[in-house]
Amino acid sequence: MLSFQHGLNSSESETPLRNLEKPQPVAMSNDSTRLGLRQVSLGHRLWRGRWGLLFVAPFFLLFAVFSIYPILFSIWLSFHEWNGVPGRELAVGFENFRFALRDGLFWESMTNAALIFVLHLPLMLFLSLVLAVLLNQHFLKLQGLWRALIFLPHLTSMVAAGFTFRLILEKDSGFANAALGVLGISPIPWLDDVWWARISVALLLFWAWTGYQMVIFLSALQTIPPELNEAAMMDGANRIQIFWHITIPLLKPVIIFCFTVSVIGTFALYTETTILTGGGPIHATSTPTMEIFANAFLNLKYGYAAALSYIYFLIVVAATLIQLRFTNRGDS
């Protein structure tokens, strides 16, 4: 079956190539005409699509001004020292990058993000998957209600949620410790201890994102033909076996998607940590984005912040590529 798939893929990918190759000899003999034709056809195509282009133009204009320009400007900026005053940019070569490599606070923030990721993602992926499978069962009543309730936290503003979690987790007056007290458990320093603070952030993420991932899993589940499960049941598989051997393998691409998006999201954490913990205590929940923000807008080291954001960007891209490569290999 593997070889069959492989053959199918290669034949698919080769066909368009062959089609492209065919007209080439003709073009070789008549290069100038072909170029001319192309230009005309491009201009013609643009003109034909003028209304469509006009309608999409606002997005691309804004994208250019607010995304492409800052991205390019940041590259230039990362080789300068700048406090934000026009004309006071000072070229410093690779100095910003050199400092970044030995910037303990920045690397600590990368570690913090990784730890927060490990603390919430495995559990969240598993739980959202289980919830999705449960809510996909026909015998369950009020499905819409359960789905909505579980998804609801995701719609809450992170600022409001952050403040609420903070109130709940306060060690002396918070609801969490009061509830634990009833059960006879001594109070937990949720926001006053390095590890508990990371767990608190992880809890907030878990609360906010489980419903979102569940919805994605649900929609993926609904694409699995029921015949597969029925066939498996005919062969004597129980529900747990079906979950592990049919559902999970078929959902693999979606799981990878959720995983990748979560990696990027956790490293980019800002609102949640700023409000819940302020990056503390002792810097334990400070994230790369918070470090970049502080360096730029608090310490007025725009050049250094730009360098940090590029280092951060490269690491996240690398992490994503490694994941994709790793998981693709698993496929073939």
């Binding site: 934000g84 006053d192 807008f297 007025l300």
Partner: protein
Amino acid sequence: MKPIHKLAAVALPIGLAAIIGVATQAQSGVKGEITIWAWGDPIKALKTVDDSFSKAFPNVTLKYVQKSPNDVNQGLKLAISAGSGAPDVLLIADSDLAQFVSLGGLTDVTTQTKPYLKRMNAYKWNAATLKGRVYSMPWDSGPVAMYYRRDVFQKAGVDINSIKTWDDYLKAAQIIKSKTGAKMLPLSKARNDSRFFETLLWQQGIGYTNKDGAVILDKDARAKVALDLLVKLFKDDLTADFESWTDPWYKTIAEGEIATLPMASWMGGFLKSWIAPKTVGQWGIVPLPTFSGSRARTSNDGGSHLAIPELSKNKEAAWAYIEYHLGRNESQLTMYKATDIFPSLESTYKDPMFNEPDAFFAGQKSRQIFAEAIKTVPNATVYTADYPEINGLMTLELQKMATGKQSAADALKNAANAIRERTRRK
């Protein structure tokens, strides 16, 4: 002004402008509209003077834009980078001021402020001055005293007047703790913000750096003395471990679970108006305890200035506004009465208002205590141009120390080295 800073960051909604303006016939050459950026309480204070300002300058219209301290700060930084979008007058907290002065975004008011150099608290000019030029006008100061709960001291049988030094303070703290269960002061360990440590530095006449800009945290014995007091307070569990400016912190203060608050003059206004309005008559104020060898029984925390951005198009009217509101006794006193924003203008301290008894402090002449205190506030510079970064680095090491991860000496050494590395100071 720092507390308001935090508050406004907590209070989400940001209201927008109220426009006040009276224009009658022309009487003076100063005219036009000026925009003022400030936050809640100070706007309330400034407006109490506007009627009389409008009579003196009928051709000037005022437009207030209320922003959180953070938004005023970021807004000016953006305006400086963009080259437009700045107001004509803005309120800047002392702790942020030097950064703006160093950016060059504020108008040089050296000549205009000359008549006030001797009339304002001398130390107020430190953060406003760069290379002999002055860039803002002082509004309020934050002289520090010790607020205490009369009921808690009475219950513990401790005479507040017996506390002269910080050693006395520690002894009293032990007695109060054993007799009443109350902690001596609220002071967070893992979420400490270094403000109390800075108050203790300033009391001894130093900041993080010396006059030449070199870091002195690990060299000046006074820094160690300051931090050692925190160590002792933490070690014997004499502090209530709540992060400043959070709900549990307000609660512990309002409910008399703490005996003292070594804080600035503005705290009195906060206690009265919203932190503990029901505790009328239960509070008292005494001068700050001293360290052996230092004389000042006070310090400074916070304070603010009004400044004119370089980008302002109506600097003449802007200065007229600032001078009228901050340079006259009547204006400063009106504002002080309305909001407890303590004037930096020294000629106001002779006013009879300072001798009025204050019911909230059980009839004590609270204003007199601060007017006395302000005379001996040491001329130190804690708020340098890189203060936000320095405060952050110190806070990190202080939190490590408070949670038992390192000694006081190591905290000072590590903070000093981190500051040197990141700010390129000596």
